[in-house]
Subunit: 201 residues, 2 copies
């Protein structure tokens, strides 16, 4: 990991606002590279290959899966989604930080393969806020909302698997928290030991 960028994994329950925080983080630090996922689902109107997703055929996806080319993958209904490993590794080796915004299941799979990543869990200010945010979308039934909240509680119980927990009570402040985490991680002696020794000794 010497001289390498940070793999930043931002995760958390649906509705906690991880997307908003990632967007704000990238505005403050455009040098961060965003990992683009691969999927077998068809592109939607306006979606661009290599920007929103890498759109692959089922055959292409499975071939890459066999070659262990994904940091993690999941099957959702009939479609596959995955995080291509090679591009992430290339950027990290160039010293670039790479951001992965990903659900909690994917995050913990990435951690198995890449434990030196920085795993940040985004929390809603209160559990009731999740409910409100999910309801405001207006697309979910009462039953679905209940299921999502139960899922969120289960996800939060696994927060000890993450390095940091950031409460999204205010996007600006929560983004500053994430920035502090990244600054601190870069100052860790375990990430810099060799460099420091070469510089001073």
């Amino acid at each position: 990991m010497e001289n390498s960028g940070l793999l930043i994994v931002i995760s958390g329950p649906s509705g906690a606002g991880k997307g908003t925080i990632c967007k704000a983080l990238l505005e403050k630090d455009p040098s961060i590279h965003v990992s683009v996922s691969a999927t077998t689902r068809a592109p939607r109107m306006g979606e661009v290959h290599g920007e929103n997703y890498y759109f692959l055929t089922m055959e292409e996806f499975k071939e890459r899966l066999e070659q262990d080319q994904f940091l993690e993958y999941a099957k959702v209904y009939d479609n596959y989604y995955g995080t291509p490993k090679e591009n992430v590794m290339e950027q990290l080796q160039r010293g670039k930080d790479v951001l992965l915004e990903i659900d909690t299941e994917g995050a913990l799979k990435v951690k198995e393969k890449f434990p030196e990543g920085v795993f940040i869990f985004i929390l809603p200010p209160r559990i009731e806020d999740l409910k409100r945010r999910i309801m405001n979308r207006g697309t979910e039934s009462e039953e679905d909302i209940k299921k999502r909240l139960e899922a969120a509680k289960e996800e939060i119980q696994k927060i000890h698997e993450y390095n940091y927990g950031v409460i999204n009570d205010d996007v600006e402040r929560a983004t500053l928290d994430v920035q502090s985490i990244l600054s601190a991680e870069k100052l860790k002696t375990e990430r810099n030991y060799q460099d420091l020794i070469e510089k001073y000794i």
Copy 2:
């Protein structure tokens, strides 16, 4: 450690500027409690008991030593110096952060007793800067300067024992680094797990 303040240990070789950084940090965050050391040496002009040091008799110091009342102690020539444990613990339990500015030998002794502290090593921009800073004091012989530089190199080789390394190329920026470290440490799930679970589950 739940709900507890952080024990912040700032150390590094003589001449790296740890005192300047501690002063700047306290100006930005006056809520941090500074640990006052105990010593058997006589007070100098203007020094105040309980502010600069706790001035103890040899008998008092040794009694406290026997009662394991120090986080660390050292004998320098004929005098003892030590960090009183009780006061530090009390402040931490109240949720206050406690700052310890200490030489590298003392820092590593504190780490043995209190590994959950945040151990920050302050580095000079370049090893030559140490030499310049020590020479500018004008109090040391050529031989002493050489010895100090050798000692500094040995200290830097133990930097992996610290959590973070901060290069003091600019006091303002280095102090911001320390502040980022403290913010990030407070966001660690290992320090907050119980609180988070109680809040959300």
